[in-house]
């Protein structure tokens, strides 16, 4: 089943010109998700050399508010802003990039911000993202989302011989990157044994196979090509976008070892006119260790089933030959519940060359892959430096 190419969007038809995190980790008491969105927006606009008066498009999502665009419009005092608060879990923000580009190209807005905020560590994960009752799943008490990804891992191990140690390699690589990122939550080294011997969560996962539970938020700023070229930072161009939503509940996922990233990646690569071989930096939504393996396969960095062997020997860590999740990822840097915005922030910084110790040399292209729900909503964005447009 092959979907559209999203060819209505122009390659390089919009650029990301500002990016910033809000406060991360454990934020001040009684901070709200909208506080963190606003803080991220102000910082990202400052990064871009713009102010709130320039903004006429607001894109946002949080699990802690049913009408977050409305709340954000009120908070910022932007009654005439064009708004979109599509929410499909952690990949919402990659989808917002495509929607913001469409709005910019259609003239619905001229400066768009995409924002996220979460205080899930402060208020508790259950309060931050209440699970809807599903009569076909809830009685069995799956520990969601972990159990859904754990079952995908069980299938991958069964079909392809992927091992427990190979899953742990993903967590260790993320940690090694995090140790190079001053903003990362985790500060101590991690070993494969450390992953395997950690507290069990949902087999085959221990707590070290699972993303962090932190607070956090942030924003990126997008604008038109003409405006982008006149701003403070080198523009990071949106070369291609794709999305595929294959299911909502894990019991309805067609094949637990093949994700919608196959289709979303195909769309994004086609629009960008690049292949996996031409990508310098990867930002893959690592909610759980199996994610990175699945997305390396589904986005064409290794054949289906080979992901476990591919990551062995620190290949995706700082000393490896493929730069994956250079900020430390959802596993070791930050994971406030819907991590997709942070993938974009890190990819922008890598393409700009701002990443200090963890900078990938001569990074000109990045793939950003968001994941939402339980491997449900997959969305891919290919970004490029000036040389790519």
């Amino acid at each position: 089943m092959t979907g559209p190419t999203r060819s209505g969007l122009t390659r390089g038809g919009a650029a990301i010109v500002g990016a910033a995190e809000s406060d991360l980790g454990a934020v001040a008491a009684l901070m709200s998700p909208i506080d963190l969105m606003a803080q991220g927006i102000v910082r990202a606009l400052d990064d871009a050399g713009l102010t709130l008066r320039d903004v006429d498009g607001l894109f946002c999502a949080t699990t802690q508010g049913r009408t977050s665009a409305m709340s954000l419009v009120e908070y910022l005092g932007l009654p005439n802003a064009y708004t979109d608060s599509t929410i499909v879990g952690g990949s919402s923000f990659e989808i917002h990039v495509a929607h913001a580009q469409a709005a910019l190209e259609a003239g619905l807005c001229t400066v768009a911000v995409i924002a996220y905020g979460s205080t899930q560590r402060t208020i508790g994960r259950r309060a931050a993202s209440a699970r809807e009752y599903n009569p076909y799943e809830t009685p069995f008490k799956p520990f969601l989302p972990a159990s859904a990804y754990a079952m995908a891992a069980s299938r991958h191990m069964h079909e392809f011989g992927t091992t427990r140690e190979q899953l742990a390699e993903v967590a260790v690589a993320a940690r090694d990157w995090a140790l190079l990122n001053p903003a990362a939550w985790e500060k101590k080294p991690l070993t494969i044994e450390g992953v395997l011997n950690a507290r069990k969560i949902s087999d085959p996962f221990t707590v070290r196979d699972c993303c962090l539970v932190t607070d956090g938020g942030g924003a990126i700023v997008m604008t038109t090509p003409q405006r982008a070229r006149s701003l403070r930072r080198k523009p990071v161009w949106v070369l291609g976008c794709g999305q595929s939503i294959t299911h909502a509940s894990i019991s309805s996922m067609p094949d637990l070892t093949k994700t919608g990233a196959i289709e979303s990646g195909r769309q994004a690569y086609a629009a960008a006119g690049v292949t996996a071989a031409e990508i310098d930096v990867l930002a893959l939504y690592d909610a759980f260790t199996i994610n990175t393996i699945l997305f390396l396969e589904d986005l064409g960095f290794c054949p289906k089933g080979e992901g476990g062997r591919f990551v062995e020997g620190g290949r995706i860590g700082p000393k490896g030959d493929l730069a994956v999740n250079t900020n430390g990822g959802g596993l070791s840097y930050c994971h406030p519940g819907m991590y997709g915005l942070f993938l974009l922030i890190e990819a922008v910084r890598q393409v700009r060359g701002e990443c200090g110790e963890r900078q990938v040399a001569d990074a000109e292209t990045a793939i950003v892959h968001g994941n939402g729900g339980v491997l449900s909503a997959q969305a891919t964005v290919v970004l490029g430096a000036d040389a790519t447009v």
Partner: protein
């Protein structure tokens, strides 16, 4: 159009109360549909037929949940021989021994208080 008088979930639960695992068959797409719906996915056809499963299937995926308090327990996805998949658990065995490909047989977990009955599975060697 006349209003529906019975929801898909109500019909499903009524079957479970009779000891049956029900699913739907879609003539327009020639395949089983689960969970039960008012319209067939992709075709949109509304002529979905209720059928009762023979109750035999295989474990498609499995995990053991380790709660912070209480004993570990199994959660599994079961592929039924009629061609539909559902979430459930395999009972009567150590949860860590539940294996992908294992044949399993349906039984009803009875209603408890407000909670309606739901389908669970037990090992079915040779089935």
């Amino acid at each position: 159009m006349p209003a529906e008088t019975v929801s898909p979930l109500t019909t499903y639960i009524a079957h479970l109360e009779r000891g049956e695992l029900a699913y739907q068959f879609s003539p327009s797409s020639n395949r089983a549909v689960f969970y039960p719906r008012l319209a067939c996915p992709e075709t949109g056809a509304t002529d979905l037929e209720w059928r009762v499963s023979q109750g035999i299937g295989s474990v498609y995926a499995t995990t053991v949940v380790h709660p912070q308090q209480g004993a570990p327990y199994n959660v599994a996805l079961i592929d039924m021989d009629e061609g539909f998949r559902l979430m459930s658990r395999v009972e009567d065995v150590d949860p860590t021994t539940v294996a992908i490909g294992q044949r399993v047989r349906f039984r009803v977990h009875p209603a408890e208080g407000e909670e309606p009955p739901y389908p669970v599975f037990t090992p079915a060697e040779g089935a």
